[in-house]
């Protein structure tokens, strides 16, 4: 059984992942990522400190980790969409270097060396008198004010949009569960067929792995490159599995 480490407060999915890999005293590689995949998912599940607007980013990394891990279990497993994503290993290695650089930047920021401009309180005192702006009309102001407001809207929408993105995973898990109950047998390809974009495929995939983990379904692949078949596990409990994956 994997030893559970105490993890410091983390700031994002890559930060969490880096801490996990470093605590295992491993270099960044596919193997080390696969090793910490489950710990990562465990940290994300039900973690109240993850801001709702960041949860979707954690889920994306979780899906990539699960993909890396499952590829080791089922070498034939291949997902074009997930393969196209920027590779997690490269991304984490790069992130690690910037974390190191940010410590040096922090030392400069907190250190005593600093430059000063000339004091604006003394230099900006010459009153130019009234200088009307050229070519500015009341309509210019109207146009600018509308632009300012439209720029603010996404900021306010952000929590809502991010939660919606993360909520998709619950729906996917429910959806799959319902289909398994109804048909007893389905396939991964059939399941992701209606996916609109990459995130949905990742989400579907993670949902599938989650169901496997919770012993709701069995996954079976006949030959290399063939579709993955999903069966309802004979001992599948009756409660809703999405219940255990709180968003």
């Amino acid at each position: 059984m994997a030893v559970t480490f105490r993890i410091e407060k983390f700031e994002g999915p890559l930060d969490l992942l880096l801490q996990l890999v470093e605590q295992e005293k491993l270099a960044i590689s596919e193997i080390s990522l696969a090793t910490v995949a489950e710990q990562f998912v465990n940290h994300v599940q039900g973690n109240k400190e993850i801001a709702p607007e960041e949860l979707a980013d954690f889920l994306v990394v979780a899906a990539k980790l699960m993909y890396i891990k499952s590829k080791m279990l089922i070498p034939a497993l291949h997902d074009d969409e997930l393969e196209e994503c920027p590779d997690l290993e490269t991304q984490l290695r790069e992130y690690q270097r910037f974390v190191a650089a940010s410590r040096e930047i922090n030392a400069l920021w907190a250190g005593s060396r600093r430059s000063y401009s000339r004091d604006a309180r003394a230099t900006r005192t010459i009153h130019a008198g009234f200088v009307p702006p050229q070519g500015v009309t009341a309509d210019t102001l109207l146009h600018i004010m509308r632009r300012v407001i439209s720029r603010l809207e996404p900021i306010l929408q952000l929590p809502k949009v991010s939660i919606e993105r993360a909520v998709t995973i619950q729906e996917k898990i429910k959806d799959l569960y319902e289909r398994i109950k109804g048909h007893a047998r389905t396939s991964f390809r059939a399941f992701v067929k209606g996916s609109e974009n990459r995130t949905e495929v990742i989400v579907s995939f993670l949902a599938l792995l989650e169901l496997v983990k919770q012993r709701f379904v069995n996954v079976e692949q006949g030959e290399i490159w063939s579709d993955i078949h999903i069966h309802r596990h004979k001992d599948a409990p009756e409660f809703d599995p999405a219940h255990n994956f709180q968003v």
């Binding site: 000063y116 401009s117 000339r118 004091d119 604006a120 309180r121 003394a122 230099t123 900006r124 010459i126 009153h127 130019a128 008198g129 009234f130 200088v131 009307p132 702006p133 050229q134 500015v136 009309t137 009341a138 309509d139 210019t140 102001l141 109207l142 600018i144 004010m145 509308r146 300012v148 407001i149 720029r151 603010l152 809207e153 900021i155 306010l156």
Partner: protein, 184 residues
């Protein structure tokens, strides 16, 4: 670092005349050393071909630009003061017209960008003015009558869609988040 370099940095940053006494306090040197340091600074500026020079009157010293660039310096300051308004300046002016008077943090909250230099520039151009009322110890700013007149309106309420944009819910929401958002 030599004392003349320290004095140069201090005079530069203060942007106004400093007394020998004050310079001695800050550098921890005695008054005579400060005077010698100022002599050395004046010589170095002259000999190294600097665009700056040291002016001394009585116990005070000030760093200024050399008189032979006065015309160019004047042109720069004029361009900065009278030149076309930048997009950020126009934006600040517009927000103050529709939603003013606002404090600087309130204006920055709506623009989403630090705006202290812009406010100063708009004040110097007579486009905005400080109002008497303050909020949370901060001055508030609104557009001037002169500016409104230049737009051809007699009051902000004559601006197009004024009621609608002034009461805009998005702007109100963002302003209400000010306290939380100010902390990084």
């Amino acid at each position: 670092m030599n004392i003349d370099a320290k004095l140069e940095a201090l005079l530069f940053a203060s942007a106004k005349p400093c007394t020998v006494k004050r310079l001695a306090e800050i550098t921890g040197a005695d008054a005579d050393d400060v005077k010698k340091g100022l002599d050395a600074l004046a010589v170095r500026l002259e000999e190294s071909g600097s665009g700056l020079m040291l002016v001394r009157h009585g116990h005070e010293a000030e760093l200024v630009t050399r008189p032979d660039v006065a015309e160019m310096v004047g042109a720069l300051l004029k361009a900065e003061a009278y030149g076309e308004l930048t997009r950020p300046s126009l934006e600040a002016l517009t927000i103050l017209a529709y939603r003013g008077p606002l404090t600087r943090p309130e204006l920055e909250q709506v623009r989403g960008v630090q705006s202290s230099l812009i406010l100063r520039n708009l004040l110097l151009r007579g486009l905005i003015e400080e109002h008497e009322e303050t909020r949370l110890g901060q001055s508030t700013y609104g557009v001037t009558v002169d500016f409104l007149r230049a737009l051809g309106v007699s009051s902000v309420s004559e601006l197009p869609d004024y009621e609608d944009l002034r009461g805009n819910a998005t702007v109100a929401d963002v302003l209400s988040q000010l306290d939380e958002a100010q902390q990084p």
